[in-house]
Symmetry: C3
Subunit: 369 residues, 3 copies
């Protein structure tokens, strides 16, 4: 066993300076920064005239779709007895608590207590900036004054008719940082050997800017044939053999805090796959996240063929995601047990990613005396 | 979110003095006072020649019904290896531990260890004062010397042949104080709108005495018709229309620590419904309680009609209790998450009830250094 | 309730000196000593070319059976991302982590990282001494330098063809010390009264040596007839009536730390039953153990009759073990709730056993600052 946790040991990484003597913050305890737009639900989950309870990093939030179809977001507990507002009744453009009928408008103001005069109304609840776009309901959980100046993220090719998009997501029981590292370290193809055959990733280079880091890969098949499902997702051999020398596809994985993208381009620059994904912490400890992903595939020349193959693509991606979910949950379980980050990371871009996630997260509170 | 928990904020309550500057005890951490008689089981649960394990506020207690039919109550663990005595064997008027056969009489004295001489018998276990009345087995978990001078509670109309009584109860995962507040604040009729239609409670006045607080209500139907189940429980419209001006029924809810009653009287003073209820904490944290309730309904003039309608009454009350259980468990869950009482109570009698429950509970231990 | 936990109170035990004034260590918090050989799996659980994850006192250990059939034991987490190696791939005589393919040999050395040069290989993982004997895989979890000088335990009559052996085991949710005390205190026959009828154990005497304690018993039937299952296990009445005066069987129960044995000999000295058993802590708190038992029965004169009766013996022993598991788990539950050992032990050999288990366990760490 290790006497001392190894944080981002870079002893084997000749092109990175040696780590400073000060111990690094445990990345798995870095809180995600709330001053960004986070999707908290799919539009279809919030039906007209209904309320829907969600969580962001432990904060209960109710999404309300009113009679007019608009959506607003409030703290999900009545100011009176703290029970969830999402169990209440949508009444026109307001929501009424299920217990004693206290009523709130879209700003969180209490506008009615049935057994009190209007002149004695109590304080209301917090409201959150809320926007709906491309089937996602985004909430700004941080400082509300920053919401207007903070742009919504670009959602990849989801609005481009030349692409077909799969919306997917699930709960994963791990810190969001494991998700970023999993996707960015393509050496983990070994995990998917049963789905993809033995592929070897080759890192072409990495770049880092303000709030982002990215890396390019090509892939070489070591053994076996390309599965049909994979050909659909990543592009088939007819566009340029991955195993050959010329005309290789390039995959670029980027974390643009707090979002992540994965794009595959053919040698002629065509974007054949475009994934946008984000990992939203659910609990206060940030040990669970809900993934919202938009996977856009460029439609091939023959109309309808992608629709035909879609069930196969869904099946293939689900199997990949299942393996990824299992492994990141195993990482979290190891961290829970060890109580610290014992990782011995040797891959340079992952160490850069880890620095980025630390820097962009909520700064550590100064130590109490 | 609230920076500071709001304890019994009475800012909107003009007829109550402003709260003192000293922070109030968190009511949800007030331990119920053990120097009262509490029912711990229904008589039918403790069969002749059998032992039955129960809990009071975390203390394991075994109820033993001996060969003669008498019931006694002991600490539910053998003095030897601490295993539950309720798994043992009732032997005449004593109980024998299932493991090595240590035997205790009704006072808790160890009267036999099969492999030791009688002259070397070890210490026994604690016994509790125990009484059986009206199908309930009451135990006095506090200071035994106070048991004789403390009367058993009056159980309402259960012994009156003019009434038919439903015995009911269940475990509810919340502090007992939420139960008292739920029943006493009849503005929560909104919660039962699907069962009862929209009713509005009107508080007629409240009274407070030594160890008790009570409040009177009338009800006005705002919408819909009276359901049949409700007519059975609360009395039908033929006895005086609740919606009309004259002849209204009056409901009185009283907490007489630690018990609670709810009575409905018609305008001519007839007691048509008489509920006695108590909420017995099960765990040491007092986050779970077992309810014991006796709901007595005055038999109408036509013989047998109440028996005929009984299944409907059971069905109706079960649905009401299910909603109440769900909401008080939601309140407890909110308290667990918030770690403090954020309630913003505005209804005067509930604030009086909260004071009563604080005053009658176990006094706070002086702070350790 | 007891104001003070009673640790091994021996007030009633005239032949044992009064306990010293210093409070005894809580036996249920004494950590088992790792400098012994412990079985961590049955041989059949570790198939050729497969890895199998186990635990010793919270330490995750992977048992690997290579292509050649040899077994080795490593720390069950990859040095890279800490995920369990037992989910990996056995590759010849090495094991490859399932995630990014890091590879370890039988000494725990990292011999390959697919995307790093061989000259930059990172540190590996811990290995454990490992031996396979009589269908059990033994590991030495303590100081590896002591493994060679520490003999494997003698496994009773398992290798003797005159005996037939049942291998059994299960997880039991209690500290290992409860298991030792359960088996050694034969006054607990009362627990098995439904399986065995009422038997009274009589202690003939006890002996203690360096690292061991043992006690002899005879049994007298108080009531009922000997069940057939019991006759098979403990020997039937035709070898000497247990209830009679002459020719009694003698049972010897011995703890030879950390193992335990139970042997029954007839009056002519024939060993008719020979049990070897050990209780391996699984979790770091040592609140759960896995039992590995070898129950050897002397074959009677008529060939095949024991095989014929074997299912009955299995059924009988399973019922006994089920009762024992339930009671020791009840003891653990009581200890968890009480937070201390309140036992009031009066049987001398059990108090000696408790001393032995304390002395042989891991010494208490000196108090911090």
């Amino acid at each position: 066993m290790h006497a001392v946790p190894l944080l981002d040991s870079s002893a084997n990484d000749s092109d990175t300076p040696a780590p400073a003597e000060v111990p690094l913050r445990d990345l798995r305890r870095v809180t995600i920064h709330p001053d960004h737009w986070y999707p908290l639900a799919w539009s279809r989950e919030v039906k007209r005239g209904k309320a829907h309870g969600v969580r962001f990093a432990g904060e209960p939030i109710v999404l309300v779709r009113t009679a007019s179809g608009a959506v607003f977001a409030l703290e999900d507990r009545c100011a009176h007895r703290q029970v969830p507002l999402h169990a209440g009744v949508v009444d026109g453009e307001s929501i009424r608590c299920c217990y004693h009928g206290w009523t709130y408008d879209c700003t969180g103001r209490c506008i009615d207590v049935p057994y009190l005069g209007r002149e004695r109304l109590p304080n209301g609840v917090r409201s959150y900036p809320c926007r709906e776009v491309e089937g996602l309901i985004f909430v700004f959980p941080g400082s509300a004054v920053l919401a207007d100046e903070t742009p919504l993220p670009s959602l990849g090719s989801v609005a481009n008719k030349a692409y077909k998009t799969r919306r997917f997501g699930r709960e994963v029981k791990c810190h969001y940082s494991f998700m970023h590292e999993n996707l960015m370290d393509m050496n983990h193809q070994f995990l998917h050997r049963r789905q993809m055959g033995q592929m070897r990733a080759r890192s072409l280079g990495r770049r880092r800017g303000d709030g982002w880091v990215e890396v390019d890969y090509t892939f070489a098949r070591e053994q076996g044939k390309q599965p049909v499902g994979e050909a659909l997702v990543f592009g088939g051999g007819n566009k340029g053999s991955k195993g050959g020398q010329g005309g290789k596809d390039v995959m670029t994985v980027r974390t643009l805090y707090p979002y992540q993208t994965l794009q595959i381009r053919t040698s002629d620059g065509t974007l054949v796959m475009d994934l946008w994904i984000v990992y939203v912490p659910l609990d206060a400890e940030q040990r669970t996240n809900r993934t919202f992903g938009l996977l856009s595939i460029k439609k091939p020349g023959i109309p309808g063929i992608l629709d035909l193959a879609w069930p196969l693509l869904v099946w293939f991606t689900e199997r990949i995601f299942k393996e990824d979910r299992w492994i990141v949950e195993s990482e979290q379980a190891a961290h829970d047990e060890q109580g610290a980050d014992w990782n011995q990371e040797v891959f340079p871009v992952i160490n850069e990613l880890r620095d980025l996630l630390r820097e962009c997260g909520v700064p550590e509170a100064p130590a109490a005396n």
